[in-house]
């Protein structure tokens, strides 16, 4: 019943879409769902969809992993070591409002049209939400938790590992969720503008050549990948944070 409730609006959109396409007011710019499915199938059969998706996923996952590692380390270090906080806090404040897509031409100029520029872009663009999550989570560690660990015999480093990191985890994981969504946005935008492969490139290329049914098929593929990535991540969150009861 709950599943049906969620899919009903989607079904409605699909029906409206089919109806609008059937009205034929500019048929090529709005292909019908059936045309899109057929185009999707032929893209899949030709291998274009899979190969370009592989490029995109490789770039976004590499960038995301680097962003999580570097951003998380900086965030925790800022919370744990005051000089590091003093040094990084103004930088974080200054770069936070920057629209991350503004970095697309910058990384392209630095590293060209290949994987490296996208990975750098995603790393830089997705780092801050992770840093802030890690910092807020770690800085909010209650004094009594740290004192408890210390009086049970933990060294400062053990306290960091066993108390500050687990305490930071919920906010860190939330920051990572934001970064995950951001990584798809950045990747597809960057591939529109400066790439020779990847799903974003495929969308732009198909759009320019007028193959709108195929273009829609790729757009929907990107939407599905984003949706399922977030769903899978939420499942993981639930498991990782089950202690919150």
């Amino acid at each position: 019943m709950k599943k049906l409730g969620a899919s009903l609006p989607l079904l409605l959109v699909l029906v409206l879409w089919q109806a609008a396409a059937a009205e034929n007011f500019s048929s090529s710019a709005l292909p019908s769902p059936i045309e899109v499915v057929l185009a999707w199938y032929s893209l899949l059969a030709s291998g274009d969809l899979v190969s370009n998706a592989a490029f995109s996923l490789y770039r976004s996952l590499s960038g995301l992993c680097l962003a999580i590692f570097i951003g998380g380390t900086i965030g925790v270090a800022m919370a744990w070591v005051k000089p590091i906080r003093v040094m990084f806090a103004p930088l974080v404040d200054a770069f936070y409002p920057l629209p991350k897509s503004a970095l697309i031409p910058v990384t392209a100029v630095w590293l060209g049209l290949g994987d490296a520029s996208k990975i750098l872009l995603i790393t830089m663009g997705c780092m801050l939400p992770v840093t802030l999550g890690a910092f807020n989570g770690a800085a909010g560690t209650e004094q009594v938790f740290i004192w408890s660990a210390r009086s049970l015999g933990a060294s400062r480093l053990q306290t960091l590992r066993d108390v500050v990191l687990p305490h930071a985890l919920p906010e860190l994981l939330n920051g990572i969720r934001t970064a995950l969504a951001l990584s798809f946005i950045l990747l597809v935008s960057a591939e529109f503008i400066s790439a020779r492969d990847g799903l974003g490139y495929l969308i732009a290329m198909l759009g320019n050549s007028g193959a709108y049914d195929a273009m829609f098929a790729v757009v929907l593929t990107v939407a599905f990948i984003g949706f399922f990535a977030d769903r899978a991540y939420q499942q993981f969150l639930k498991r990782a944070l089950r202690w919150r009861g």
Binding site: V144, S148, R150, S151, L152, G153, D162, H167, L169, W243
Partner: protein
């Protein structure tokens, strides 16, 4: 133990001439403790009693090594306190169980740090969990426990590493009256069988008289020790709370604390 023997026992904890001040955010520096002197003998149960804000918790945190000592000396077994350590177990008012660990994992944590083997960690953890009556809840997370159960788990975690000294900061202050009364009795039993040195901070006069062998009364801020009352008497058996000696001691301490409370109100 006669007076001669008692005098010859080296104190377990020595607090000598300790003053401590701090600066709350956006306010002037406050003197929390002023020239506090206190000796605690091995296996003695001392309660520190005082109005809230008198610095009694600060004194406990200084003994715990959590706060930097500014002036005066604090010695444990003759050696100055330089930081927290597993020789001084602490129980906090708000339990301070690690919420991401189960009861068993919480109790095992100190044992793991102490380098016990896995089976030994499990054995001792279970023994402690049983001691505080939490069997059946080994794999529960703290968020699923009541306040009383959380504090039992926290006590088990502290006792597991077998510290010589127990520092307790209003450990039953957040519990309802019935649970508190049960926990007090259990603590007394645990202390009588393990005979640790206990420093117990409270603002509850009855609790202090019931549990401690000696009650130290602190003044309103800046905290100073204004009186010491001997509260050693037979505490086993039915109705201590109705015995004459209990009522007299509570009365005596109540007057001392009340005077400090009035003074604190006047100072504000």
């Amino acid at each position: 133990m006669n007076e001669m023997e008692k005098a010859s026992v080296a104190p377990h904890i020595v607090v000598e001439g300790v003053s401590f001040s701090y600066t709350p955010a956006g306010r002037q520096e406050l003197l929390a403790l002023e020239n506090v002197n206190l000796d605690v003998k091995p296996r003695e149960f001392v309660a520190i009693l005082g109005p809230s804000g008198c610095g009694k918790s600060t004194l406990l945190y200084l003994i715990g090594g959590f706060l930097p000592l500014e002036s005066g000396d604090i010695l444990v077994n003759g050696a100055p306190v330089i930081g927290p350590g597993a020789d001084r177990g602490v129980v906090f008012q708000h339990f301070a169980l690690f919420p991401w660990k189960t009861v068993r994992e919480n109790v095992r944590y100190g044992l793991k740090l102490a380098g016990y083997s896995k089976p030994e960690q499990d054995r001792r953890a279970l023994q402690m969990i049983k001691l505080v009556g939490l069997n059946g809840f080994e794999d529960s997370f703290p968020s699923h426990l009541s306040g009383g159960m959380k504090q039992r788990a926290a006590i088990a975690r502290t006792l597991a590493v077998d510290p010589e000294i127990l520092l307790m900061d209003e450990p039953f202050g957040a519990l309802d009256a019935q649970t508190r009364s049960i926990m007090q009795t259990e603590l007394l039993n645990i202390w009588q069988s393990s005979r640790k040195t206990v420093v117990f901070v409270t603002h509850d006069v009855q609790e202090a008289v019931l549990l401690a062998e000696r009650v130290v009364v602190m003044s309103a801020r800046p905290g100073q020790i204004v009186a010491t009352v001997d509260t050693r008497f037979e505490k086993d058996g039915g109705d201590i709370l109705k015995s004459k000696i209990f009522i007299d001691k509570v009365d005596e301490l109540w007057h001392l604390v009340r005077a400090e409370w009035v003074r604190a109100q006047g100072a504000q």
